[in-house]
Symmetry: C2
Subunit: 461 residues, 2 copies
Amino acid sequence: MSAGWFRRRLLPGGPLPAPRPPGPRASPVPYRRPRFLRGSVSGPSAADASRCRDVRPVRSPARGRVLPWNAGYAEIINAEKSEFNEDQAACGQLSIRRSDFATEEDEEWLTLCPVEFLTGHYWALFDGHGGPTAAILAANTLHSCLRRQLEAVVEGVVATQPPMNLSGRCVCPSDPQFVEEKGIRTEDVVIGALESAFQECDEVIGRELEASGQVGGCTALVAVSLQGKLYVANAGDSRAILVRRDEVRPLSSEFTPETERQRIQQLAFFYPELLAGEFTRLEFPRRLKGDDLGQKVLFRDHHMNGWSYKYVEKSDLKYPLIHGQGRQARLLGTLAVSRGLGDHQLRVLDTNIQLKPFLLSVPQVTVLDVDQLKPQEEDVVVMATDGLWDVLSNEQVARLVRRFLPANREDPHRFSELAQMLIHSTQETEDGPMGEGQVSYDDISVFVIPLYSRDRGSSGH
Amino acid sequence: MSAGWFRRRLLPGGPLPAPRPPGPRASPVPYRRPRFLRGSVSGPSAADASRCRDVRPVRSPARGRVLPWNAGYAEIINAEKSEFNEDQAACGQLSIRRSDFATEEDEEWLTLCPVEFLTGHYWALFDGHGGPTAAILAANTLHSCLRRQLEAVVEGVVATQPPMNLSGRCVCPSDPQFVEEKGIRTEDVVIGALESAFQECDEVIGRELEASGQVGGCTALVAVSLQGKLYVANAGDSRAILVRRDEVRPLSSEFTPETERQRIQQLAFFYPELLAGEFTRLEFPRRLKGDDLGQKVLFRDHHMNGWSYKYVEKSDLKYPLIHGQGRQARLLGTLAVSRGLGDHQLRVLDTNIQLKPFLLSVPQVTVLDVDQLKPQEEDVVVMATDGLWDVLSNEQVARLVRRFLPANREDPHRFSELAQMLIHSTQETEDGPMGEGQVSYDDISVFVIPLYSRDRGSSGH
């Protein structure tokens, strides 16, 4: 759960609930949207991607369970399988048709570039808020959107360099249509497809929510392995990191009202009507009181990275557009994330002020050149929802990874066990392996993706 | 000159012009603005900051000349002192009054916190376009704006941590008004003052240009040494780097239509009327032709980092909002930079389409903690206008610095000589020290700021 209205799901130090069998296919169960989206809501209880022809679904992934998908390396653990778990996940193989020939003229190209499927792998974590509905819809939908978007530009993806013009023919490196000038790379087209897929999925979710009279939103963190590269697309506050023997590298950054302050303030500057006179665009170190009127206090506006002082006017006493800090920071007093899917109908409590105009569905995409990385046997990518990162730093996770994997080299389920161990370590008291006594009260989902392939001594795709 | 309409000032490989004596005080000479701002214009010929009470002016700095300011280490060289040089510079000591007491009640604080001046040092490079007027105005004005902005918040600057409330009294660390929560640091208030100073200066320039019927704009790169830190504020395409024995660190980044594509496209998305139906917001790999109508071509919109494909419509054939790449990229076909001062009246040739709404005067500020750095004797900051960086990479400049300084350890003017040598090396042919045969045709100005102080073995302030 990214939004902070109700985070306590696991009791500190208590045992993890036992894995539950997969439930029936999730069809959105009607429930009434609470005006301030607090607490749990009734609804579907687990991820279900059974409709997806191109993704082998993770059905209600239970902790420690090895997933039945053929690449065989990715593992998933969901920490907290309560009835109202808002974390959802999906993973599987992506199959993208390389060509879509319609005209007779194109037939001749078939012999040169036979129709085939470009295959990749897909892992996704969705952290819902205001109920699990949006997260379930995203887990059921996003991979299909991505497949569709990739198929629409596949000639650009399979070419050495994307052609300026998609002629409907298979494009080979000697094609004069190649665009040298801008240095546009194949990966730029995959990034574009991921960006478009997130937006398309957001539109689908909006329609589905409206049709079923439901509400909610979710963050989305997606990793796609394609042609020797790993693409990590993030919209929200989940996180992916690369852990190697000598390196810890963030593969995503978080999008919250704090990290996107300037974008959000700027929007309110351009369209002040979005605040309906109820909020102030300016940031102050704390909520101002009547006593502050006329005082000269610290503030920041949209164009500022630094802080300055201003004399407090009456309008500055309004509730701030972004308020609180760290895990408590809220957009319009309501939402803890600034990017994600859904939330089309989300409004500030007891007002008609919409959140959606301030939210972006477009992800930030990072590209990891796995082939170039020459991965070693214990190099992994760890993807997890915010509950993990609330209590474990990147370095702490890396230490746990580096301690666990070499000690369990012969265990065929060791990546799964590692994901489980990471979640366990967020439930530790002072006696735990980190000795920090930090406890997470949030749902947590973790993927551990090994990059090494025994066959090639390289990326495991 | 940042904008690319007329760059050839120095003949390749030719000798540098001899230094000229300082001219009379620059009072803006009226000249007619050419509609497309091509070629040189008549106007004042050299920087003149003689009006500044708080900055000891650099008067028409000639190459190799040691500057008469008391810190004694900063050196300046302007490469090309043609009559219409658009590069301008200023440097000197900043004196900021620590307190400004008005009421009797405050008098008691004077004994605790005596009135004194907080002193710093200031270096600034301005690279004009459309004539030197804006650059001269900036060189004459910006330091005063900065002093004023710093004095307005000086209690926040001298405090260990800036207080939430400026009470008009001198604030000591035990003051209950300190804002712990947000972790706002003294340097954030200096950054805020720099941001405000650039904006104030831009307004002053706008008024002066309007009053005198003149035009033009300039980039601005400023370094301020204050309380053991070096603040580098940049609006435009000049650059500052730190060069140490084992490190080269960029202290600024460039703001051009290419680097700020998403911000500029987004503005056009919010306010399409700014394009007056004459330009397309979308980016394509090349200018589209009638033949492309109906084709599926690569494009990017404001929300995209990647590239996608779209079917070309008639409106896509319009001239692109941002066109060209690298040094040739232009905003609205006119301007090569996206941040800077001035340009209030700049319009697209033969239209009423304004450039100014797309330009930001606010700089990006980087902070270098010089005290913490424990600088060595040959650690320097190199600031230069784009002409230098067009032909020399950061690493190449660093190699020249590391070769030159140890070999000239006894020369009291070695930083000045180094700045001169850097400019010379942009005029070399194949036989030059870099052996790369690159030649800059642009005005070039360079500051070399040594960080080491013999007295303290630390920062030289």
